[in-house]
Structures are given as structure tokens and as C-alpha cells.
Symmetry: C2
Subunit: 193 residues, 2 copies
């Protein structure tokens, strides 16, 4: 229950806090260790928390009515993860979060976040900017799905996220790109020629 000051530095690198602020913030985060295969968040559960990923790898995925998995997001060091649609409104998760590689994450609730925001405005600024980045990333992804072929999207994924590409299964990547693992396999073969 609670994290260290150096962890605080890790999470909010560019931001500087007073001692009082630091103490307040560190007291609110909770460390969690995850093993490969663990489920951090189950679909249908009410989402109270978001998580900062300090190490390891996780993914958020959605299971559709046919039972197929669709990966919305991967998260490695220095990424935040949750089912954000549910998190922002404290409603039930549509997605599941799974640990792909043993991980260390720091957990914080939305209620706590909102309270911290009013006490420490620069924390709100920090997260507003995070959100702007995330919004941007999603926008780019939508444009990519609209305008590119599966092959182009794969190439650009490998290029943009070399660290992730190495540490996840091909079928995870396929479900992120919106294609089957067989199609991805064919694409990889073509590229390797």
C-alpha cells in the first residue's frame, strides 16, 4: 500500500512536486505484481482503477458475440492501462485486461485521481496531456484502418512498436490489426521474400 519517491519520479518524470504533494500522491498508489496469464480486470466488473505499467506487458481485449478476441491496446513500461470507457464513468468493463509477461503495475482509483486533481492542478495537467496523446493515437489508428491495407498496417505497427512486437504473440498482433492469424502469417511470408 503506497509507493516510493523514486517510483513517483518514474511515473511523473517531467513533473516536479513539493514534498507534501509527493507524500500525498505516493500514498495513493498501490503496487501490484502480476504473473503471465493473470487477469487484471475482468469484463463485466465495475472499473474503479487505472494502472501504470512499470514493467512487463499487458493487453486489453474485447470478446465479441461470436467469441472472437479483439485487442484494443497493449501496454509496456510507462504506459497506462484500464478499460477507460468504463473507468471514466465508473461502469462495467466491456474488456478484459490480461498479463502477457510478468508485470509490476501501480494502481490508483478514479475517485482518488479526481481528488488529487483538485488539490494538485499540475497533476490534472499531466493527465490532460496524456489524454491528448492517447486521443491522438486513437485518431491515427482510425485513419490507418480507414485508409491502409492489412499489410501496410502490420508494417507500420512493427515499425512503431518494435518493443511490443517482440514480446507478444502473432495472434495478439493479428487481433490488434483486425485480421486473422492466418492472414497475418501470409502477410509475414510476403514481406520476408
Amino acid at each position: 500500500m503506497s509507493i516510493t519517491n523514486s517510483t513517483l519520479q518514474e511515473i511523473f518524470s517531467a513533473t516536479s512536486f513539493s514534498i507534501a504533494e509527493s507524500n500525498l500522491i505516493t500514498s495513493k498508489f498501490e503496487l501490484k505484481k502480476l504473473k503471465k496469464g493473470d487477469t487484471l480486470l475482468h469484463a463485466n466488473e465495475i472499473v474503479y482503477n487505472q494502472y501504470y505499467v512499470s514493467s512487463g506487458c499487458l493487453r486489453t481485449y474485447y470478446i465479441d458475440k461470436l467469441g472472437k478476441e479483439h485487442t484494443l491496446q497493449f501496454a509496456i513500461k510507462d504506459w497506462w492501462i484500464s478499460d477507460y470507457t468504463a473507468f471514466f464513468s465508473t461502469t462495467k468493463a466491456v474488456m478484459t485486461i490480461e498479463c502477457i509477461h510478468d508485470a509490476i503495475v501501480y494502481k490508483i482509483s478514479r475517485e482518488t485521481m479526481e481528488n488529487l486533481y483538485s488539490e494538485i492542478p499540475k497533476l490534472e495537467t499531466f493527465f490532460r496531456k496524456k489524454m491528448e496523446k492517447g486521443f491522438s493515437a486513437f485518431q491515427k489508428r482510425i485513419l490507418a484502418t480507414l485508409s491502409q491495407t492489412a499489410k501496410e498496417r502490420y508494417v507500420s505497427f512493427v515499425h512503431s512498436y518494435p518493443n511490443i512486437e517482440q514480446s507478444v504473440k502473432n495472434y495478439h498482433i493479428a487481433s490488434y490489426l483486425g485480421i486473422t492469424t492466418e492472414s497475418l502469417s501470409r502477410i509475414r511470408k510476403e514481406i520476408s521474400k
Copy 2:
């Protein structure tokens, strides 16, 4: 140059400001009237501004290397519009914003926004929450593209945005859904049976 207090109310409905705050904010917005067919933002232009839509209808679209248009977003009354990826980093627009129906918008620059945020924290809260909603909406759209057929996405679009559906061309909707206008036509035929 500058808007009225009642317009301020319109934009920030749920939020209340002191007189000084109101005056400060209203002085920063600039009214702009647009005619159908006008371009509010050109691709390749540096993006300094975002716009609140008071009336009318606009859309943001991307032209790919083959010359095809892909609609990222529509905006009607009470929506905000810009090329946000470019706006957040004050870089060149990738997209174009076109007026689809005569519109009235209020313009404000990012620099002004950032200054207002530090003076009026609740304004930052307002936009953080807007951003959370937008992030959520994009997330849902990505999940929909990953897991649904074109027909399902069309039905859900019509259901979610009845006001937009009425006021835009079918080929706009097609380019938003990521299909051709011919395919959309076939889908509509099937549904009408």
C-alpha cells in the same frame, strides 16, 4: 472578435464562472460564419485553433495517397472540431475540415487555451472531461471496426447519430464507415426490405 455571455453559457453549460472569468473567456473566442462548401482548415496548414460548433455541420477528412477521402469526424451543434493531432502539437494538419451545412463556429487557439487553463483550473477540468469522452468514443469506434460488419456499423451509426445521418450525404457516411458508397447503397437496400 469575442463572444457574448449567453454564448459562453451555451458552450460551457454545466460550468459556472465568476464575472471576471466570464469576461476573460468571452474575450478570447472569435465568431466565424461558414458557408456550405467552405474549408475551415486545409491539410498541410499549421493548426493553431480548435472550434466550437454552434450550428450547422462540418466534417474532418483525410485524403490518402490514392486520393480517396476518409471521414474521421462529423461535428454538429455542441461538438468541438479541429485536426487534434496537429492542434495538440501545433504541427501541420493531415486532415481537411469542410463545412457541410452553413455553420457558426467559435474559434480559440491552443496557446490561449493553455493560458486560460492555468488561470481557471475548472476550464482545464472541463476540457479534460471532454477529452475523456472523445477518447472513449474513439475507443468504441475502434472496437466496432474490429468486431462488426459494415452493415452492423451502419445500423449503429444511424442509431447513435440520427441528427447527423439526416444532414450528410451517403458518401460521407460511407467514407466514415470505411466502405464505398456502392456498398453502403447495397446495405441500405437490404435493410429496407
